[in-house]
Assembly symmetry: C2
Homo-oligomer: 629 residues x 2
Amino acid sequence: MADRAIRFQPSGSRITYRPDATLLELAREAGVSIESICGGSGKCGKCKVVSTHGKQKLSPTNEIEQSSLRNDEIEAGLRLACQTRVLSEGDIVVLVPEGSRRGHHRLLASGIEPAVELAPAVSKVLLKIPPATLADIRADDDRLLDILNSEAAVRANIAPGVHRLVPSALREKSWEATVTLFRKEELIGIDPGDTTGELLGIAVDLGTTKIVAYLVDLATGSTIGTESCPNPQIPFGEDVMSRITFTAGERDGLDRLQKVAIGAINDMIGRLCSEADRNTVDVLEIVVVGNTAMHHILFGISPVHLATAPYAPVVRKALSVNPGHLGIDIYPFGRVTALPNIAGFVGADAIAVLMSSGLYEQDDIGMMIDIGTNTEIIAGGRDRLISCSCASGPAFEGAHIKNGMRAATGAIERVWIDESARKIHLRTVDDASPKGICGSGIVDAISEMLKCGIISASGAITSAPEEGWNVREGSDRKPEFVLYEPEDNGDGIEVSITQNDVQEIQLAKAAIYTGVSTLLKKLGVDCLDISTVYVAGAFGTYVDTSSAIHIGMYPDIPPERIKFIGNAAGSGARMALKSVEARRLADDLSRKVEYIELASEKDFQSEFAKAMFLPHREPDRFPSANRST
Amino acid sequence: MADRAIRFQPSGSRITYRPDATLLELAREAGVSIESICGGSGKCGKCKVVSTHGKQKLSPTNEIEQSSLRNDEIEAGLRLACQTRVLSEGDIVVLVPEGSRRGHHRLLASGIEPAVELAPAVSKVLLKIPPATLADIRADDDRLLDILNSEAAVRANIAPGVHRLVPSALREKSWEATVTLFRKEELIGIDPGDTTGELLGIAVDLGTTKIVAYLVDLATGSTIGTESCPNPQIPFGEDVMSRITFTAGERDGLDRLQKVAIGAINDMIGRLCSEADRNTVDVLEIVVVGNTAMHHILFGISPVHLATAPYAPVVRKALSVNPGHLGIDIYPFGRVTALPNIAGFVGADAIAVLMSSGLYEQDDIGMMIDIGTNTEIIAGGRDRLISCSCASGPAFEGAHIKNGMRAATGAIERVWIDESARKIHLRTVDDASPKGICGSGIVDAISEMLKCGIISASGAITSAPEEGWNVREGSDRKPEFVLYEPEDNGDGIEVSITQNDVQEIQLAKAAIYTGVSTLLKKLGVDCLDISTVYVAGAFGTYVDTSSAIHIGMYPDIPPERIKFIGNAAGSGARMALKSVEARRLADDLSRKVEYIELASEKDFQSEFAKAMFLPHREPDRFPSANRST
């Protein structure tokens, strides 16, 4: 049997093969989900795999593969799983690259977990304290701090308020007690007996649109729970700028935004703890990352100056405050810590992504892109790092798009158009009937429309009815392209891409590309000099890399140089929660990373205008797009 | 005229003299109030003065003076003002020593003001901050802290919460702002423009019986207001021990005691500020001193372990907390600072008295006694200091005394008995009709009763009716000595000293003397080795030194070695408020001063029993008392 087995990596799944089955079929039977949207015709080109052992037992590359794959991909041994069959018996190993795995984004949703040496800011020490006697009448504070110094080499102060806990904690379990320290400088808690195993922290990624919280066991370093919710500030303003306007224009606007954010965080703390069967007072520290405006609002600091030149933040440095200061429901003498910011629109979340990507320690030039309603980009490496922020808007979240929706059940997330058959292939989240289209679907749709000539390089929907595409006049009297029409008595709703939708995406992608190209120019490098682009954020993880390059959102680099790091802001927050060394790194990076204010760059307007084209007004910048259209 | 003038020092009052007038009369006419209670008969011996210039123009020492004054006093040139007349013309200067000045205690009520170099923990710096521009996009915190470092050489952090104030304060007066610093480490405030002249602090002496608060202008160092009130915890327990019992035995007992104390402090802050026409939010720091139990209760720390062996305090070290932590109504980002304690019954107030006395830097051996319901004693000098606490009880405040009262209008404050005439001379506060007797009156009364043989050395009222004193059987069937009987239709009420009253005072004075003698023994010195006894506290200031020595409360040293320092706890608190150097001193002293637990001393019981005698079971210890009885 072993000589008729095929192994899929990296999952390790193994299946006995049978004649004539394609690798795509065998993989699915083995439980390995490979992307494919064209029904196995080889036209969508999504099911790329590579055989690392026994490739001579496979069918040779056929014509379909030769037209779908680039020359360099063929040279690198890439195959389309739907076109490749096993010809002879023997041991075969097939590697399924990350980008070909269906649902890989779901695995990445909570972000990668970079290894850090466990050294959290909160720590516990078990002490046996010499009892108070008439021969040793030291005060409790001296007695406790003396032994802490002699046994653990820690010279600490007792935090205000914690003194109240000391006398009974010392005496309740015969002068054996566990002290909790913050940064080995401040004694923030004391319990009778040994409680060193109980050490919880929470990392929070406070996004403009979504808040994610992770419960971390700081005694072991493992993440024991994840919760997320929409940012309840959305009704007060969809993007950062409208929320800043709200704080400036509405009575108690800042207080109200602060309050709902803290309420949401407290709800998540409650859910995380109750699911893990722990008490919220056992959570000793929360590390929060967010963009600068979210950061300021959380701390009750007016963000109003972020909105006008020179866009200076009030706070760059890291903050650590008592939970009571904000009304956060954890251990009252614990800490709420925010990582440092870089600039008014490049916040602690960008620092967190940067830390989690490892870009800062790279010898060659790399880039990280965290796509959201505001997209932060940092480019460079070990020697120099430059950042900027692009107002990409909420279009990728489905906002301002006629049939736009979040990536929830029924959202069209993949589009592939069979040009010759005039047939549109769609995939929806959970394979449900279409209810709308999410960001990755729109990017695919526009890329495919461009490939098929339904839209021009300027973004105009130009296809005439006689070309065979379902293009009609929309309610705004502008043309729209119908992507999906439910059949009679069929499920789902009609989904179309309007002229306005195309323009929203053009604005968003132009904003990102202008940021990318400005940073590259500042660094004096060409886009092919970039060794790796780390793409963070949910949308960045879901979107198809080739489509994103094809419309000119990402720089035109070989797709394999693009690495997905998921919710890297959350990963970076967990790194900081688990390691004071990571916090030191965050402090260093917040000082080191330069900031470019894009709007005040001399060429910004013309660069942006050129980037509005699909993929770009200067086609030389996208040689691969030229080749495939 | 000048050659017939007499000057009184240190007041500087000057008057032309006339033949036959006594110095006492001339002094009164010049507005210099000299003590005298015997109607100028020379018998009470209170009106001691010394001529420092022109003494050969005064009448020679007469027989009355020779019997009233000690030999060493006569040798030192002391005269009784009521017996001394001017004989010839010429310039004469008469020094009226502190102890002979009537009402000197009122001047001392707020304590001496030792000079300290003005360097308060809160300070202000005016800064011109480089404005934020597109060419200088630093965050507000970096911008502010950079200039603070370069202009004032201060490397500070911004305190949590203060960030909120920064952006508008920077911009409101064209980037000129005043920052408030705590210990030049933390930026706790920022105002637009120049507010460096506004710098207020409050010092609080939180006594078991009385709370005194001083408003200090920290820009100039001057005290601009004083307020006092009874400690509102009194209804929950008269002395420290009963309050500790209350916190242990009553539901929310600690909270209730804490709340009333804070309420009283807030009331005083309000009154001090409204009288000085300032706002309470302009008060940046409060320095509090009190005994260890008052200290613990103020901070919400259980004092219950102070009451049982080994009487260890929870906190020795100095504390500085945010006002909101306790609910104190001053600038919310200011500080409430408590000086360090020494032991369970020697608190921050003793440190404050010690600082204000200067005893700690004395080359020879001295002693400080702060008399209250608890009396703290510290003996020693530069090389070594030993402290103890004596449970002297509230008898000196008039409590547990049949006709006892506070030193208010109508309280008998001085008693002198003319033995030969069987006549009792009294003086009352404000010269009103007698309503009761206060501590200094009781000590005088017992000293006089002892001199006249109305009580024995054991304290028994032994006088038989035929001896001519108004001794009768009291309601408790024990003898009592009638001090004052209103005449028919006269004002005032009857005041007598009961057998029980005598015993209460014996217990109180024995407690103090046992402390004194134990410390002297530990230091290996004799009482005459003491160069100075610094007496602090209201009662200590009011009580007649000779009477106090005569009943065996103070050690038997020449009365001129006793110095009154008034409310020295308040003085020490003001020193610390005005000077970080004084706080460093307080920290040093709290570590340096040794503590003796009297009750666990081997000889304590027998020493105490011997000290119950008047003046002492071992008469050798009080040679001066032997001489005068």
